[in-house]
């Protein structure tokens, strides 16, 4: 007896909709087993992960704060992935954006620079993220280098560059030798939405990004180009759409959004530049993009869900001493199941008996 994947005659629309839910279900099932192996009560752990954070206002705000960078980055990535361009290095573009924006904050520190500082930081961060993303895009278009590898490797370059800056030239002289810049001035800080709360202006920007992406993909010719190039490259060429140009464009846009997310994180919830400003947002956003089916509204929901796992992970660590890394395990398993379930849209499982025969997709 043999288990084989057989191509479906028709694409299953139902599975396309429920596949993310199936993936979440399977992930939770796997986690239950994992918790049991760790000797923790699975039900309590699940409660800590998924229910507890939803029950108090502080955690709810925190979820929105964590979802902000995830959604912004994932929207950019979804444009790349729709166009068949594989940007894996959003984490690096996030860090470079944070560094570039912080440069203005550091240089204007203690001066009487006015309200232009924050907008300038946002613009510079987006530009820096875009330029940084253009490196792998141009290498891909000009030399055929795999953008997957180059964009990923540039993450480590960005990480070490940031490290160097905060340990060297930008270190806060009054910071007891900690590798961090001084706290940013108020003009260099992203304003809060509620006084004394956690929610900040960045969340509004993220929502605007979602809306803009929905309009871009649904209503404009550029969005159409992006979708056709990914879905039917030969037809796209026949339509007069240039795949290379779109690789450049989508990488630049996603780099800009990642860079913007980076500076918003630094100038918002964190307040200064330091190593470890990202718990892996750029990588988690890949999961968000796929879990959201590369659809802007889907990404919004998926971003909130993965933010929940970050917060839940912290709560579970505090309440039950479950290691924080379990959150990463959870996210990895989730991506695995999302991709696996997606293949069920086009394929189905089939049991085959030796005297019968293996099937070939036809048609």
């Amino acid at each position: 007896m043999q288990l084989v994947l057989e191509k479906r005659a028709e694409r299953s629309g139902t599975i396309a909709l429920v596949s993310p839910l199936i993936a979440i279900g399977l992930t939770i099932l796997t986690m239950v087993i994992l918790f049991a192996i760790l000797g923790k009560n699975p039900l309590l752990a699940l409660h800590a992960y998924f229910i507890a954070p939803l029950t108090d206002g502080y955690s709810l705000q925190e979820i929105a704060v964590k979802a902000t960078p995830l959604v912004m980055i994932a929207i950019g990535l979804s444009l790349c992935y729709l166009a068949n361009a594989w940007n894996i290095g959003a984490e690096g573009q996030f860090l470079i954006g944070a560094v570039a924006g912080s440069w203005i904050a550091v240089k204007t520190q203690g001066t009487d620079a006015g309200a232009w500082v924050l907008p300038a930081m946002l613009v510079l961060a987006a530009a820096a993220g875009a330029l940084y993303a253009l490196i792998p895009a141009i290498c891909k278009v000009k030399f055929g280098a795999s953008e997957i590898l180059t964009s990923l490797m540039l993450v480590y370059v960005a990480d070490l560059f940031l490290d160097y800056l905060v340990r060297g030239p930008w270190r806060d002289p009054h910071g007891f030798n900690f590798p961090t810049t001084a706290e940013f001035d108020p003009v260099a800080t992203v304003p809060l939405l509620i006084e004394g709360g956690r929610l900040h202006l960045g969340s509004i920007i993220a929502l605007l990004v979602v809306a803009a992406a929905a309009i871009l993909l649904g209503r404009t010719i550029k969005g159409f180009e992006i979708r056709v190039v990914g879905a039917a490259p030969r037809a796209a060429r026949f339509g007069g759409f240039n795949a290379n140009q779109l690789i450049i464009l989508t990488f630049a846009v996603s780099g800009a959004l990642a860079g913007l997310a980076g500076i918003i994180e630094v100038a918002g919830p964190i307040g200064h530049l330091q190593p470890g400003i990202s718990p892996g947002y750029g990588f988690t956003a890949i999961i968000v993009a796929f879990l959201g089916r590369l659809n802007p509204f889907g990404i919004l929901i998926a971003g909130l869900f993965l933010a929940l796992t970050f917060i839940g992970g912290e709560q579970a660590q505090i309440a039950m001493k479950i290691p924080l890394d379990v959150t990463k395990v959870f996210q990895g398993i989730l991506l695995f199941y999302v991709l696996a379930c997606d293949s069920l849209i086009l394929y189905r499982f089939k049991l085959v008996f030796p005297n019968r025969q293996v099937t070939r997709g036809a048609g």
Binding site: R11, R219, I221, F224, F238, K350, R356, Q357, T359
Partner: protein
């Protein structure tokens, strides 16, 4: 009882009066949304029978055979195999029961050898060596010569189809389905195929044969079942009917004749190609070799030739999917365009219909309106300030649907859900409705039924009458003879000098298609005659 029934039935069936139908569908129904693609179809297939399945584009032929082959599940009705009801879980089960199918679109890997391709498509666990031996033996037995070690890219379309047929025969099917097998074959290749089919029949196998070519159906088939709008209208003996009466049954009325307006006026040159040479872009492509021709407004130039002699490369160079170094090699409407992109050429008034409808002419998973946008975005007012005017794209879909009678399940379905011929009508309609000054069309009636083919040919003629320059590449010499003013032949990347259609006899074209050149004397003689 069984014999009695069959005596009442005038159509020839299995020779042996004790036999029962090999396969029988009872009330077979397939529903897509509101559309009944197959509406309660009863069909009997007997051993030792070549059974034709006829019908207009979208009549439901492919749907029916896909259900019989287990590719789709019927919504209602039964399939009986050797008297027993079966429910097929998939093609592998169909194959294991003895049902084989050869698809119109081949599923072969270009860079693998013949034997490797066959091995990939077979179900069993037999060793590669045994399989290769069996492949040679089957191909020899049936007179389908194949060299197992050749790589597929080196093979002609006819040879590729042979691989598919041999692959199907290696499963020793009792029943073989062929979906439009001759659409892509040259007349000679088709003749060879018919010999094989006759032989399979003599061995007691049954064959279900889908084709739009009624003359060959009359020659080959013992029985014909005609579908119209998803229903079976008739089962008859095609030998006793004329092609015209078969066509009438398919359409449910008279088939239109193509009327050429005589004395079309030619105007200025609208498409000129000057000494175009182009290295192939792919490893297995054909080099375009000093191609020159001039096409005036009001004129239709036909390009004949066996597929794979550079027609695809010429299309890419004319459309701008591939650019030429020298702008002057392609001149559209008096403007050197060799270096211009396909979008810029469209803006000059050119329109293009590629041969491959799914994946090249359309994005299969996108709606028709989006596929209208695919080629209309440059010049048809479908885009304003970067925003898509959905109403305008839908209007194009509606107009193409109306003008070319595109049959579909809803107003704006995915391209892939249309039947082959209906999608072709949509693509041709989409381009013609833009009123192009220059139309370059590859195989414009490929897989289209007789009625729709007539509509498309008429539209091409009307377009030329209205003053456009039309270039048609086709393997169908009858089609070219019907609409073209001049015919040139493509061979190994070279284009022959065009012959006036009245001078272009089958013999001359055949010689050119085989690579021999016409004697200079003979050309002079033809021109003088």
């Amino acid at each position: 009882m069984q014999a009695h029934q069959r005596m009442l039935d005038p159509t020839p069936k299995g020779q042996n009066s004790g036999e029962s139908p090999l396969l029988r569908t009872i009330g077979l129904t397939k529903r897509y949304g509101d559309l009944l693609a197959n509406d309660s179809i009863d069909i009997d297939i007997w051993p030792r029978e070549i059974h034709a399945l006829l019908g207009e584009n979208g009549a439901g032929k492919s749907t029916l055979v896909k259900a019989i082959y287990g590719l789709i599940q019927p919504s209602a009705g039964q399939i009986r195999w050797q008297g027993q009801r079966i429910v097929l879980s998939g093609p592998s089960e169909a194959r294991s029961r003895g049902i084989g199918m050869v698809f119109q679109h081949f599923s072969l890997f270009d860079n693998l050898t013949v034997a490797e391709n066959v091995a990939l498509g077979l179900d069993g666990q037999e060793s590669f060596k045994d399989m290769s031996a069996r492949l040679e033996q089957v191909s020899r037995t049936y007179g389908l010569p194949l060299d197992p070690k050749r790589e597929v890219w080196q093979l002609s379309v006819g040879e590729r189809q042979r691989i598919e047929i041999v692959r199907a025969l290696m499963q020793d099917p009792k029943f073989l389905i062929l979906d439009e097998p001759t659409a892509v074959l040259t007349p000679q290749e088709a003749d060879q195929l018919f010999i094989v089919l006759e032989r399979l029949k003599a061995e007691g196998r049954a064959i279900l044969y889908i084709s739009h070519k009624l003359e060959e159906v009359k020659r080959l088939c013992d029985t014909a079942t005609i579908l119209r709008g998803g229903r079976k209208v008739e089962t008859c003996n095609p030998r006793l009917d004329t092609a015209a009466s078969l066509a009438r049954m398919m359409v449910g009325g008279e088939v239109k004749e193509v009327k050429a307006v005589s004395g079309r006026k030619t105007t200025v040159p609208r498409l000129v190609v000057n000494d175009l040479s182009l290295a192939p872009s792919e490893a297995h492509g054909v080099r375009l070799d000093h191609i020159s021709f001039e096409l005036k407004g009001g004129e239709i130039l036909g390009i004949a030739g066996v597929a794979g002699n550079g027609q695809d490369e010429l299309f890419a160079a004319l459309s701008g999917e591939r650019l030429a170094k020298d702008p002057g090699t392609v001149v559209i409407e008096g403007i050197a365009a060799g270096h211009l992109s396909i979008t810029q050429r469209r803006k000059l008034g050119a329109a293009f219909v590629p041969e491959e409808r799914l994946g090249h002419g359309t994005a299969p998973r996108m709606k028709l309106s989006e596929n209208a946008l695919l080629t209309g975005h440059a010049a048809s007012g479908m885009v304003r300030r970067g925003f898509i005017d959905t109403a305008a794209t839908l209007k194009t879909v509606d107009r193409a649907t109306e003008t070319f009678d595109v049959r579909k399940a809803k107003r704006d379905p995915e391209a892939a859900s249309l039947s082959g011929g209906n999608l072709q009508k949509f693509i041709v309609g989409r381009e013609i409705l833009r009123n192009p000054a220059v139309l370059v069309a590859s195989q414009p009636t490929w897989g289209v039924d007789a009625g729709a083919a007539a509509v498309i040919r008429q539209a091409l003629l009307d377009l030329a009458t209205a003053g456009a320059a039309v270039l048609v590449t086709s393997q169908d010499l009858d089609e070219l003879a019907e609409i073209a003013d001049r015919i040139a032949v493509m061979f190994h990347g070279k284009l022959s000098a065009p012959l006036a259609t009245s001078e272009a006899t089958r013999e001359k074209l055949g010689l050119l298609m085989g690579g021999s050149s016409l004697e200079p004397k003979e050309v002079a003689h033809a021109a003088g005659a």
